[in-house]
Symmetry: D2
Amino acid sequence: MPIEYGESFFKWRESSAETWATFTTHKFVVGLGNGMLAEAAFLRYLRQDYIFLLHFARAWALAVVKSDNLDEMRMSANLVNALLNDEMRLHVKICQEKGITREELENTTELPQNMAYTRYVLEAGFSGDFLDLMAALAPCVMGYGEIGARLKVERTSDVYSDWINTYSSQDYQNLCIDLGKVIDSAIIRRLGRNFYESERWDKLITHFQQATTLESSFWDMGLKG
Amino acid sequence: MPIEYGESFFKWRESSAETWATFTTHKFVVGLGNGMLAEAAFLRYLRQDYIFLLHFARAWALAVVKSDNLDEMRMSANLVNALLNDEMRLHVKICQEKGITREELENTTELPQNMAYTRYVLEAGFSGDFLDLMAALAPCVMGYGEIGARLKVERTSDVYSDWINTYSSQDYQNLCIDLGKVIDSAIIRRLGRNFYESERWDKLITHFQQATTLESSFWDMGLKG
Amino acid sequence: MPIEYGESFFKWRESSAETWATFTTHKFVVGLGNGMLAEAAFLRYLRQDYIFLLHFARAWALAVVKSDNLDEMRMSANLVNALLNDEMRLHVKICQEKGITREELENTTELPQNMAYTRYVLEAGFSGDFLDLMAALAPCVMGYGEIGARLKVERTSDVYSDWINTYSSQDYQNLCIDLGKVIDSAIIRRLGRNFYESERWDKLITHFQQATTLESSFWDMGLKG
Amino acid sequence: MPIEYGESFFKWRESSAETWATFTTHKFVVGLGNGMLAEAAFLRYLRQDYIFLLHFARAWALAVVKSDNLDEMRMSANLVNALLNDEMRLHVKICQEKGITREELENTTELPQNMAYTRYVLEAGFSGDFLDLMAALAPCVMGYGEIGARLKVERTSDVYSDWINTYSSQDYQNLCIDLGKVIDSAIIRRLGRNFYESERWDKLITHFQQATTLESSFWDMGLKG
């Protein structure tokens, strides 16, 4: 694999191969790459994603609360800021260019697939510990990194280059690499060097797979509304 | 209205009239009353409901944590016990009669609609306070009470009389009445006598409506799998 | 050791030997056994303990929320009920016999040592998982069991026999034994058979020791007000 | 009052006048102003405060989780960053100048008064909502602002000018003013314009007073160890 987001992510991804492929090679993703994705679908996705980012920032803030040390806290706090400031502003900007005002964007009605995903992640964090939260958060952060990096090479259209450039940027790739290191340390610290033999590992895989499935439903929602 | 589950419930229900009707007169409910509901659909629902009850018991336990006084604590703790002991045993019993072993029941895969509902309720409770949790929990408890009481009178078949008798029983009706009193007190204590004019009331209505919508999806899941 | 509350408890206790001795052979405890504890000190303790039990019941309810299976849920829910119903009623009864009305009891001002203890346990549970909560809850439940069993044999006075009989009763001892089994299973399920070699074990010891220290402060509070 | 940190803070402060005076004119504070505070006491305080800031950052992250809108989220996220980055680095710097290495600082044993305070605030947030958290967080943020502003004028010594300059700086004062606005909006949004007549107001005052008392204990800890 050309992309290296850490050992835990690699193992999670490997144990969820089919689910992961469904998410990362979804028709929506293909459409981003070849430009065939309908603008209405993209905007529907983007408006939902804006609400998603709000709750995703809340989930990363919960990771700060559940951290055991400064490295975990700082990584998680940086993600809260990246989401609340950079990423949400990007959505506001793209939407405005397409004639959707900030007010319209903020008043978007949250669709069921969106709600199902964000509440799943937050509840996993509230009921579990830092690792449960990481396993549920990783598919989104790293999946976008992997999709971005692949589409940068494979794309045949410039229609969605803003989106592709964002997630294939060195900044975003570095974020995935750094996050991978923090997750690996967090897991080794709590479950030991042979973490994949520990009893808790299966539960973390379940969170990873579930969140990956909910990512696919999110693409579905974009396509079907 | 012949049934009296308290003032807050009455107001919530009134402000969600259409959503409430969709839930309480759903095709699944009609089928319970006239016996036309396919057994496979009923068992699919029952197996999912078993998992639902586990998480619902966790949500009522969270209500104990979020309580402000002994009345709220005792009411919520009683519901945890009723769910963990009486109601789950009923599901085990009915399933066994239909040839589904306890082990099969416990290994049922949680479907997306089930997950979406339970995580929504738990997250509302974790992120909010006792009232947010009550508004999200009320539709299930009281909706089943209302449906049970109505089907007891209107039913034209005995096929699902076990289910109907459970929720129309005086015990269950009393539980709804008692819960209604605790919720009314809890709301007045926190929001004042004119609670429906308070700023928070709208947010509570939103939780009630959302949970009611998720109840309808739960019936859909029973019908469609 | 004549008392058997499980392997995890045995190891926690062993690794906190001095702290544990300070708690279980505290001057307050000695006074319960030889009857030399001033009634005012006992009543001050009892009134604080009433408030403590409220928050302790909330903490056990949080354990229901954080449970992974029905055994953990049922054990924790039973403790919520035992606390809310049996144990709190005992406090009400003893206080009434001493001329403290239920209303006075319920209006007792929570002292700092009480607050420090209960908030520590609840926060450990909210920020951590089921095991963090168990490690913080065990010292109180099992310490009282151990003290009760010892005083039953060693006591030289009947002044505080109500208290001693409660915690040396077969019912209470069985509760400790059952809880020990649930904790052992919960730990093995999450950390493996060699749990004491796992990375998380040290953190659990820290919770156990901290809660034990806070138990000693609670006795201090009884003596000094 | 020359300082204006918002209406809610003003009312909280007013209803806790004596407790507030004990905190803000504590012997420790007097010693910061006239330079008579022993260096050992100041360093003991500073080392505990470093650990305090870790948990305080977790509490502000919990405020992000419990926010209802972007303004609340951004304010809370900014505080997380200010604590994790600026304020903690200041402690590292001062300690290093006094010969306490970063490693020694990070390995400081948390004292009971410190633990009691941080766990109280976090638990108030987990069990309650955004407002409960704000009422428990306000005394520290705004108390330091008020003390800093007063000592800037009244101080008769330069010994602790670093500390005084930090909290009397325009940056810090602006942070208090901005926070005051966010809290006022948050309260009005949830409790209405006449919030001080609402049922919940008393509970918020209790959190404010309790946290203020725990601030005084924190100064005591600095003096007595």
